[in-house]
């Protein structure tokens, strides 16, 4: 079977329509991103372990994913040791994911840490009819048969909701990508050029009425 082209939703109207079809909401996704970003900043303290920022972003991003989606009737999902939410009626699972880049047509997002076997198995549950070749040799063919979507959050505030498959611990195939926000609304965390390079600075833009 041939590899399907990635469907990308960029325009606001398309993004909202597609999210609505999935019983998701744009504002929920932005809330998840904001919470994750806030915790990422908290975890940047030198007292945290080196991976503290990413860990906190993941944990609180997942918490916010569940908090927002449980209100909409989704249920907690822990298939194969993953932590996400599952649609009550449809075969859709959503997980939180820290990525290096999001909402870019030139660069595909990659997880900031290698994906485990459980994630790989889960992601391929519905892959048989999409991409035959990605089924790993260890797969029994008795997967959960769910579509796995990821709320992919990049450090610069860009966030997309993406249906992707994992192979060899990495995202290998992208079925659908919904560009929720490019991060331009984010308070940029910039290098101020002073002695220490991690100070928080703010860009303020004002306009004429």
């Amino acid at each position: 079977m041939s590899r399907a082209a990635t469907k990308v939703f960029i325009d606001d109207i398309d993004v909202e329509r597609r999210l609505s079809e999935l019983n998701m909401d744009r504002q929920d996704i932005l809330d998840i991103r904001d919470v994750a970003a806030s915790m990422h900043a908290t975890g940047s303290s030198p007292l945290f372990p080196a991976n503290g920022a990413g860990q906190l972003a993941y944990q609180y991003g997942t918490r916010e994913l569940r908090a927002t989606h449980l209100k909409r009737g989704w249920v907690i999902d822990q298939s194969y040791g993953t932590n996400g939410v599952r649609h009550p009626d449809r075969k859709i699972v959503v997980l939180y994911q820290n990525v290096d880049v999001a909402c870019s047509l030139s660069d595909l997002p990659q997880a900031r840490s290698r994906k485990g076997a459980g994630s790989e198995r889960l992601s391929q549950g519905s892959a048989f009819d999409l991409i035959e070749e990605v089924v790993p040799s260890t797969h029994t063919g008795e997967g959960l048969d769910v579509e796995v979507w990821y709320v992919m959050v990049a450090q610069d505030g860009a966030v997309e909701v993406t249906h992707a498959l994992i192979r060899g611990g990495e995202f290998s195939d992208f079925i659908e990508r919904i560009f929720v926000h490019d991060g331009s609304d984010f308070d940029p965390l910039e290098d101020d050029g002073s002695l220490d390079d991690d100070a928080v600075d703010f860009d303020i833009t004002i306009s004429r009425k």
Partner: protein, 360 residues
């Protein structure tokens, strides 16, 4: 000259206080009797245009200023001063008058420009200022990182920030809420590090003491100080970088990270238990001998308003100047300069229509 409406006697009092003048000084400068001036100020006498012009000259305010109908009167308790003992009544009144004029300018700013909306949570319920500082950092997604510019942070969060060119070291800064908008006034006579601490201190007042606080005077100031210290120098960031019993050289190096004075960092390090009482006292003596009590050698760059820079750039492109703002608001030009961190008096700004040409 165009004037609308009746003479506003409250504006005369405002102008007099802003100029730090007594009623006697104004009466003498305007060649009026003290009784006459008193009756004008209390609204019992309607002055003639000739008298108003004399008053305008005496106070160096434009005549139109006295015909502006509304005056925002800040209640005395709305404006807090760091040291009431050191600040004279006249200095306090002049600073408060700057606040009232600042509100006029702030309202004009909001009418003309789209500015960030205020997003300051009310944390008056929080009894511990350090906890409030941590919660605010978390709410704003700042983590434990140093703040590159306190003024930019305040402006990004919807605070209207003005400078106080008070030519006195007795007034540090003050802040208040007016019609749901937070205002902060900072004295630019202080060192840059002092200004950073003042800005954080006033942020503490805005979020801790907005809804009426049962604390008064020194207690309120102590809370705002504790908030500022924790907010600017988050405990984990400090603990992660400052060892026990740090040397004075390390303090002088690290103060630049948080853009605070050496004394403020030493105090914070002591509060966090990294310096014993004795070590802290010794460090204070050492820093004093090096001139860090009266000034800040090797200081950081001074914060400036980014909102005002953009406002003035916008106006410049439209061919407008500080004189335009002054005219629209019926204020003296020097008031605009004083409130805008001196940006309005920047001599390097291009003048619209003026071009370079080759002279042969």
């Amino acid at each position: 000259m165009t004037t609308h409406g009746p003479f506003n006697h409250l504006r005369l009092i405002l102008a007099r206080k802003r100029r730090k003048m007594t009623a006697i000084q104004v009466a003498e400068a305007a060649k009026l009797s003290r009784v006459h001036l008193s009756r004008i100020e209390t609204g019992q006498n309607e002055p003639t245009m000739e008298t108003i012009e004399a008053l305008a000259k005496a106070t160096r305010y434009p005549v139109e200023f006295f015909f502006v109908p509304d005056t925002c009167e800040l209640p005395a308790e709305a404006v807090s001063f760091r040291s009431l003992k050191r600040t004279s009544v006249r200095e306090r009144e002049a600073a408060r008058a700057a606040g009232e004029i600042g509100v006029d300018v702030g309202q004009w700013l909001s009418d003309e420009f789209n500015l960030p909306d205020p997003v300051l949570p009310d944390m008056g319920y929080e009894p511990d200022p350090a906890t409030a500082a941590r919660a605010l950092r978390q709410a704003w997604g700042l983590g434990e990182k140093p703040i590159a510019s306190m003024i930019a942070l305040l402006e990004a969060k919807g605070v209207r920030v003005f400078s106080l060119a008070e030519e006195t070291l007795n007034v540090d800064a003050f802040s208040f809420w007016q019609d749901g908008v937070p205002y902060v006034f900072l004295n630019t006579m202080k060192t840059a590090e002092h200004g950073v601490m003042d800005a954080a201190h006033e942020l503490g007042h805005l979020i801790l003491h907005a809804g009426g606080n049962t604390l008064h005077g020194r207690d309120v100031e102590r809370e705002a100080n504790a908030f500022a210290s924790s907010f600017l120098m988050p405990s984990e960031d400090v603990r992660g970088r400052v060892p026990r019993a740090p040397s004075v050289h390390l303090i002088l190096k690290l103060k630049k990270r948080w853009r605070v004075s050496a004394m403020a960092l030493a105090y914070r390090v002591h509060r966090l238990g990294l310096l014993t009482d004795w070590q802290y006292r010794s460090m204070c003596i050492d820093l004093t001998q090096r001139g860090y009590r009266t000034g800040e050698p090797d200081g950081t760059e001074r914060d400036k308003s980014r909102v005002w820079k953009q406002v003035l750039d916008h106006l410049w492109r439209e061919g407008k100047t500080k004189e335009t703002i002054a005219r629209v608001l019926h204020l003296p030009v020097d008031e605009i300069e004083k409130l805008t961190f001196g940006l309005a008096s920047d001599p390097l700004r291009p003048i619209k229509g003026q071009q370079l040409r080759v002279v042969k």
